[in-house]
Amino acid sequence: MQTPAPVDYVRATSVADALSLLQQHGDEARLLAGGHSLLPMMKLRLARPEILVDINDLDELRGIRIDGNEIVVGAMVTHAEILNSPILFEHYPIFREAEKVIADPIVRNKGTMGGSMCQADPAEDLSAVGAALRGTVVIQNAEGRRTVAMREFHEGPYETKVADGEILVEVRYPILPGSGSAYEKVERRSGDWAVCAAGACVTISGGVFSSVGIGIGAVNAEHFTAVDAEAFLVGKEPTAENIATAAQMAADSCDPSADQRGPADYKKHLAMELTKRALTRAAAAAKGA
């Protein structure tokens, strides 16, 4: 039987309360969101916090809303809520496409935006989506709030800009009117982590790409994206040939390692193929295409 090692537990009553609990207990404390990454790691002794600060009562971290020209997703919004959000679907169908293939319906009832971001698994699907959409992450500590671009958020596998004593409070996505977006993922079986995944979000005006966002997961793409491929496409027509060239550039910039999910050359091939498919569908969905 797998059980976490002995640990203390406290429920935060507000973000301010959670921050003061974190400060009080230093690096021995861990926030508990959906628990669907943290509890498995505690069972395996890969994480050994002394105290868990449960943030499930913090309604201030819930909700999906529009604020000016951004969509704001609270840290405690679940995968299921993202999947079913009309606001996100209207502006960014990429969320629904990605969420449909994140874990399974029951896990999606518990796993959260904030937990996914902070777990920072190299195959985290919402990280690839966030990179494609050029989101920003809002982090709060005792001094106040600061904003970090999604594309600067990850320090490496399982490491982010969120330091001890800090809470990720929300993620913001700029709204791009008329954009098209899409997500593609290959997994070994239903509900599994990606062997490789790619997302795209583009706008087209005057018959050429006016903005291009690419997100790539699970194949060691720097900051979950491919900036050279993006730059190549801007100002070019959305032809099959241009998209194929960009997809190959994107794949060339990835550095996957072989593991039980497949050999490196296969993953590189997937990065090319899935980027191509995501870009093609996103371009077709963009207004003015």
Binding site: M1, Q2, T3, P4, A5, P6, V7, D8, Y9, R11, L32, G35, H36, L39, P40, M42, K43, L52, D54, N56, A103, D104, P105, I106, V107, N109, K110, S190, G191
Partner: protein
């Protein structure tokens, strides 16, 4: 720490370690063995119960986090001595063999129908995709959930 929660409508209070998982609280402390405990890794779904009406893998939730919430287990499906149609469906369509996956399948099946009274086969298969059955090949489970969809009021059989 002392933890209280409602399980199938009854208040349950026990003094447990904070690390206690909800599945063990329900089985060992509350003595309700209907909820099964399988993989321990949030993959198999044998441990699915409802927290405030939402299916949850109880091997991956602390009992402490469930304190103050409403838990429904497979024992709570039957009402006034009458089986829920989802339970009846598994009888009618032979939806189980060894029965290990069944409590989780029943809780998710009921939830699927509560949100979507006439699901397609694909919607049912997607709905139970986080749950493993090593016996049936799923066909009869899908049929059982369909049977319940077709007989929403058919809970006339005594439990």
């Amino acid at each position: 720490m002392e933890i209280s929660m409602k399980i199938n409508g009854a208040e349950v209070t026990h003094d447990v370690e904070p690390r206690t998982l909800l599945v063990h609280f329900v089985r060992e402390n509350a003595g309700l063995r209907g909820t099964h405990w399988g993989c321990d890794t949030s993959n198999c779904g044998a441990c699915v119960l409802w927290v405030d009406g939402t299916p949850t893998k109880s091997c991956t939730m602390l009992a402490a986090s469930a304190a103050g919430h409403d838990i429904t287990t497979v024992e709570g499906l039957e009402k006034d001595g009458k089986l829920d149609p989802i339970q009846q469906g598994f009888i009618e369509c032979h939806g189980l063999q060894c029965g290990f996956c069944t409590p989780g399948m029943l809780m998710t099946g009921r939830w699927i129908l509560d949100n979507n009274p006439k699901p397609s086969e694909e919607e049912i298969r997607e709905g139970i995709s986080g749950q493993l059955c090593r016996c049936t090949g799923y066909k009869n489970i899908v049929d059982s959930i369909h049977w319940a969809a077709d007989h929403p009021a058919e809970n006339e059989v005594s439990a």
